[in-house]
Symmetry: C2
Subunit: 347 residues, 2 copies
DNA sequence: CTGAAAGCGCTTACAG
DNA sequence: CTGAAAGCGCTTACAG
């Protein structure tokens, strides 16, 4: 069996409670006793039992990470590098504060819901980070009802108030990006976004539409597409757009992974980007400078989104008086070769 | 406070031990009592405390996932989609057996080592999956010394015996891939691989070299490159190769992410793939069909690697008599447009 | 078939 | 400054 606090106590000729205090580095214990006890701990290779400690403490020093449902391979979220990157960010802060990370294993919505219930009710984690935001999400509603410390990466639905979230200003940067396309001379601009129930899609669409409206450019309904699948979805959207009487001259895409599928579909159709079609996108994923042509995209600082989310959830956990807040991570448009001025001049 | 087993017992007018047996669905309890107790559990919204249970059980139903060190951004492992995919596979099996997943948060080697120690000594997890294999890895040595249930994704170093691992037959498929290049007429073939201490790099290099040797094709030392960085590493390697008196006509790359950097570097140099240079690679990551040109690469079934690793570690945990074994996940060469016959014919 | 009791390995008021 | 005792919320032999 593993060595316990009692073994240390016996060997060091002190009480178990003293050993416990040495572990906690309590100021009440003499340096002399501490040294003595620590020596024995080293000798016996002592390591505190996680569960015993958590049980006595009613705290776990663990954070749960909730991934979005990914129905199947080919789905936009399935292999989206976004998640690996955001987890890296979470991980970095969590590590610095000695928090551990738990991830959900559910694929479908109901599974994820029960994973979250296990985490919350089973007191497995002290707080949760939700990596997506969508309307009528039972998981989010559950966390709100339970009043459990959690942070959202993304913008909350309108009907959910008083929660802490970390997000980019997707609306503002979408406006900026749309204005950029307009400044290049584009008037016929289409939109291809991920699932419409996702808040991030909504926000980006809103910025897109409002900007065009303000510029008095009308957007036909046929210009607005939503899809969840990289290959088939991208291809179908592109085909639809190209077969219109007035096809767009630029496509505003909400995710680099989706843009990858779209570039591919355009390429298969023999449409040259940026000469015959412009494409802009979001997230600046690692491959987006390697596509052909390299993508004009929005740097959203994924890692930082994760880092701030972790910082916020730890704050919620450790400071019960902390109130909900919203943290905005800056964005930047990265101009590459998938866009150029309509009149022929480069960008 | 949360509702406990005692609350249920009081309400259902039974002993706490009976409640516990109902939770475990013990056959010793009458259906009648079970029903009665379950009703109360539902009413009060009972959920077992994870830590109390683990403490009493000495088992956690959790698996620890150890990620490789990723020194910094731009590093080959940092955003490599391989890991997200392998974790999906692990996740799928774990979920089916109701295991939870813990991931390490350390970035540097020593941090990872201490994460693993925490997991093992603190009895946080019942078993571990190591997502990389390299020579003289203190983490692996520690797990072996502690005789802790773990499974390696990859091939173990030669000096480590009797461990369970899940891997592709990298040697064989590298031979196959090299033969394929030879069959296209290539004789001057260079190798660009990830870090040389990684077993996967070694295995792929060995298959590569042996095949050329058997075909009596000599490989100059200058043809063998190793790098850890996508952009700079890829660029430098390509520049070095192109400045040789006899530059290669094909490059054998060990990872799609690295290949991405290499395609980019070639493109910048104005070298056309596959007309002036062929490129083959490994892993069939999601973007590899979208590169220009699409990559000829090896499907290694990453998801399945993860799935089998999870299955194996659960077996090790639950069946103490199970002996170490090696599971080989099949591979397949996917021929795309980055390769073609040297004499001009396509593939 | 069910209950009382001990134990898993910690922490933390309460004494002294 | 240190110790004895109770408790965190479960499980599981042992009785009956």
């Amino acid at each position: 069996m593993a060595v316990t606090i009692k073994d240390i106590a016996r060997e060091a000729k002190v009480a178990p409670s003293t050993v416990s205090r040495v572990i906690a580095d309590s100021p009440k214990i003499t340096e002399r006793t501490k040294k003595k006890v620590r020596k024995v701990m080293d000798q016996l290779g002592y390591y505190p039992n996680f569960h015993a400690r958590n049980l006595a403490n009613r705290a776990t020093k663990s954070i749960g990470i909730v991934m979005p449902a990914s129905v199947r391979k080919g789905n936009l979220t399935f292999q989206n590098p976004f998640f690996q990157d955001v987890i890296k960010g979470i991980s970095a802060f969590a590590h610095s504060e000695e928090y551990s990370l738990y991830i959900t294993t559910g694929e479908a919505e109901e599974e994820i819901y029960s994973d979250v219930m296990k985490m919350v009710k089973g007191r497995r984690v002290d707080g949760i980070i939700l990596l997506y935001s969508s309307d009528n999400d039972p998981v989010m509603e559950y966390l709100v009802d339970e009043n459990f410390p959690f942070v959202l990466v993304g913008k909350p639905p309108e009907d959910i108030k008083n929660i802490t979230y970390v997000d980019n200003d997707n609306y503002a940067v979408s406006r900026e990006l749309t204005s950029f396309l307009i400044s290049l001379g584009h008037k016929r601009i289409a939109f291809i976004g991920g699932h419409e129930k996702l808040l991030v899609t909504k926000n980006r669409l809103a910025g897109f539409l409002d900007t065009l409206l303000l510029s008095k450019i009308t957007v036909p309904k046929t210009y607005i597409k939503h899809t969840d699948f990289i290959m088939d979805g991208g291809k179908k959207s592109v085909n639809d757009l190209l077969s219109l009487k007035e096809p767009p001259t630029a496509i505003f895409v909400t995710d680099d992974v989706l843009a990858l599928g779209i570039l591919n579909a355009l390429n298969e159709k023999g449409i040259s980007v940026p000469n015959e079609m412009n494409v802009v996108s979001f997230n600046n994923l690692f491959f987006s400078e390697f596509t052909s042509p390299p993508l004009t995209t929005v740097e959203v600082n994924i890692y930082q989104l994760g880092y701030e989310a972790a910082r916020s959830v730890v704050e919620l956990i450790e400071d019960e008086n902390s109130s909900p807040k919203c943290i905005t991570v800056p964005t930047e448009i990265i101009i590459r070769k998938s866009t150029k001025s309509l009149d022929g001049k480069n960008n």
